[in-house]
Amino acid sequence: MTMDRPAGHDPGGAPALLQMRGITKSFPGVRALSDVSFTLEKGEVHVVVGENGAGKSTLIKILSGAYKADDGEVLIDGRKVLMDNPQKALKQGVSVIYQELNLNPYMPIYENIYLGRERTNVFGMLRRSLSIREAHQLLEKVGIDISPRVLVKNLGIAQKQMVEIAKAMSLNARIFVFDEPTSTLSQAETTRLFALIRDLRASGCGIIYISHRLEEIFQIGDRCTILRDGVCIGTRAIAAVSVRELISMMVGRDLGQATRRVESFSKDHVVLRVEGLCLTDVLSDISFELREGEILGLAGLVGSGRTELAKCIIGDLKKTAGRIVLDGAPVSLTSVKRALARGIAYVSEDRKKEGLFLKHQVSTNMTIASLRRISRYGLLSRRAERELCAATQRKLQIRSAGLNTQVRNLSGGNQQKVVIAKWLLTQARIFIFDEPTRGIDVGAKDEIHGIMLELLRHGASIIMISSDMPELLALADRILVMRMGKTQAVLENRGISQEDILSLAVGAHSFAGR
């Protein structure tokens, strides 16, 4: 088993299987990775951990040729390679098994395995029986007993994963990247996957394993590299690291002292109570209360079910059990329209996909959810609309060439303010903000926080979903931590740290003995 070593060389002096040196990558407005170095040896499982947005996916995309690094180099077997497209990476033996699998559901397994490099004879005719035979051998190797002629759409998620691995093996891959492979697997399937990963390791392949689940990391990993905000914090041998240490490396001490707001508007009155809410396979038995004038933070990792919870509350997803109580009376919110009528507004996470009408004007974007305010008998008053929008634009300081400008021409922060304006105009009293400040600049972020506090001051209540822990700690009165669709804890935001939240979010308490 491999342990901590000087970068890039095992004691025998042979070069490492994979070295990434000084990788830097920026996107407009964000530095996703800066000067990250990473080494993978033959026959090791190297885990990469980090919070949401730490840069794990970017690093993998650079390795697989999907992104081009701004700076830095990639070496395989000590030789420098240029991976500027996915085909080249495949040729170098790098195979990524993605969360969303890259298989064509309407083709049989064997065609998927040989897609793009079909076995043909001299006349260019497909050699079907040969490919089926070979595919069969590959499937045996990964341990699934199924005919290669079966269409991929008829496979379960675990079987699809195995087919992906079989495909990677047929490509003679030597570096396997698993991106959250177990997030949709059962316990038994996970065990089988781990057995296969150990086989791959034994055969001398290198495995990069990305996961949020700490217990898995300790089961399968040999070494572990921690990323935070695009910077490599360090690499540790798993055998020599504790859960506590890992978490504090992921969070970082320097960020621990976010300043919590002083003013509180929270009252005792409970405006919204969620009781035993369930959604098949996603949420189980979620209960919590939202008090008037408070911000309830929702913390959790990507995939923990926070957005789904919000969508169940507003009736966009049909909950399978549980009830919602508004001001002490149970309500049936079966559509977004009804939720809005009861004063609940959901400010969606993905503003381009779910919030904005990009090609429409700023003003029509603002008023679309509250047209009743500016219309009578279904007829709109353009003047009322103009006045309402102008006032809102001033209030939120939306910087736009005019209210007639297409919203796609605005900056990210101003677009986000337009989305918020849309929901403010509905005069809701319960707002669910889903990642309200993701991907926007610091100035706009402050302004949006200001808007939220202003809402509280006027008696509104807020549920804030955020992966930005300093933001949660600065704004929330209480924080509900979710993990895999369950409530882990509801914390009063007094004297708690990012470590506390993250420990709960990754489930560290369940094996706190380490």
Partner: protein, 312 residues
């Protein structure tokens, strides 16, 4: 800047250029009778194009409108001429049938999650088949005077009533799309379906309503056509759905939805009919007319895509 203005109003300039060319080349083109003839010829298609535009704005498409013209036409003729129902009753019933056909299109598309191309392709065949089956493929002639009067009335003894219909129809459509809540919902559904749903808009309901509007307008088109020709033909309205789509697109509507305006559609419809009329006056054969119209459609969209390419 000049280029920008030219692009923004390309459809208007194009219209004026074609108008001017015909006016210069043909001495008959500018005569009042010919111009009013263009409007009369354009009316049925232009009214169908309103419904088509509404559907396209919601991100859909309706291939069945031409066939609905024919079936409404036949049904009204059979009810009035063969069955002997009073004209208003016959017309109302056949109009209702066109609404039902539109509703079926919308319901299956939005509640049954069938792509609108498929739903309305099927309806195109069903409605045409029904029109043919009704009288074994034969047309019905000799409408009562009251039916014909819908088309033949002249205002002030000079202005064909068809022009009034056109103005009223487009004014109402403009009002709907620009000054009503319903209109905003139509644009929103096509602009971003997810965002519309999450903004509390009953997407399926309003999406279905768009097809009902399209079906109803096709029905009105069928009645007007029957009144003007004084007979009902099962092959009436053949190809109108494509002319209507072309009108919307020339007028600036985006087939992906959420973009377009009704005055552009009117101009597009007039442009198509004007091209046919002008080319006929210039003795260009119908075959070459089709080629010309095809070029115009592609040019119109191409100009628009240059605009968005630049924006990127």
């Amino acid at each position: 800047m000049a280029v920008k203005i030219l692009q923004k109003y390309a459809i208007y300039f194009g219209f004026l250029v074609i108008f001017a060319v015909f006016a210069i080349l043909s001495p008959h083109f500018l005569q009042a009778d010919n111009l009013s003839n263009i409007l009369v010829q354009a009316l049925v298609m232009a009214i169908i194009a309103i419904g088509q535009t509404v559907v396209i704005l919601t991100g859909g498409i309706d291939l069945s409108v031409g066939s609905i013209v024919a079936s409404t036409s036949l049904v009204s003729a059979v009810l009035i001429v063969d069955v002997g129902l009073p004209v208003p009753v016959g017309l109302l019933l056949s109009f209702l049938i066109s609404l039902v056909m539109g509703f079926v299109n919308g319901f299956i598309t939005h509640f049954g999650k069938v792509p609108p191309f498929i739903t309305t392709l099927g309806m195109m065949s069903i409605a045409r088949g029904a029109a043919l089956a009704l009288k074994g493929g034969r047309p019905v002639g000799n409408m009562p005077d009251a039916y014909e009067a819908i088309a033949s009335t002249q205002l002030f003894g000079r202005v064909p009533i068809f022009i009034v219909y056109m103005v009223v129809a487009y004014a109402l459509a403009y009002l709907l799309l620009t000054y009503t809540r319903h209109g905003r919902y139509i644009y929103a559904i096509g602009g971003n379906r997810d965002a519309a749903r999450l903004s509390g808009i009953p997407v399926k309901l309003y999406g279905t309503a768009a097809f009902v509007i399209a079906g109803g307008l096709a029905g009105i088109g069928g009645i007007l056509l029957t009144a003007r020709l004084d007979y009902a033909s099962p092959i009436a309205g053949y190809g109108y759905e494509l002319d209507a789509i072309a009108s919307s697109v020339i007028g600036g509507a985006s087939l992906s939805g959420g973009e377009g305006n009704i005055l552009g559609t009117l101009l597009g419809a007039l442009m198509i009919v004007m091209l046919k009329n002008g080319l006929t006056l210039l003795d260009v054969s119908a075959y070459y007319q089709q080629i010309t119209i095809g070029i115009v459609v592609i040019m119109a969209v191409f100009l628009d895509s240059i605009k968005s390419l630049r924006a990127e």
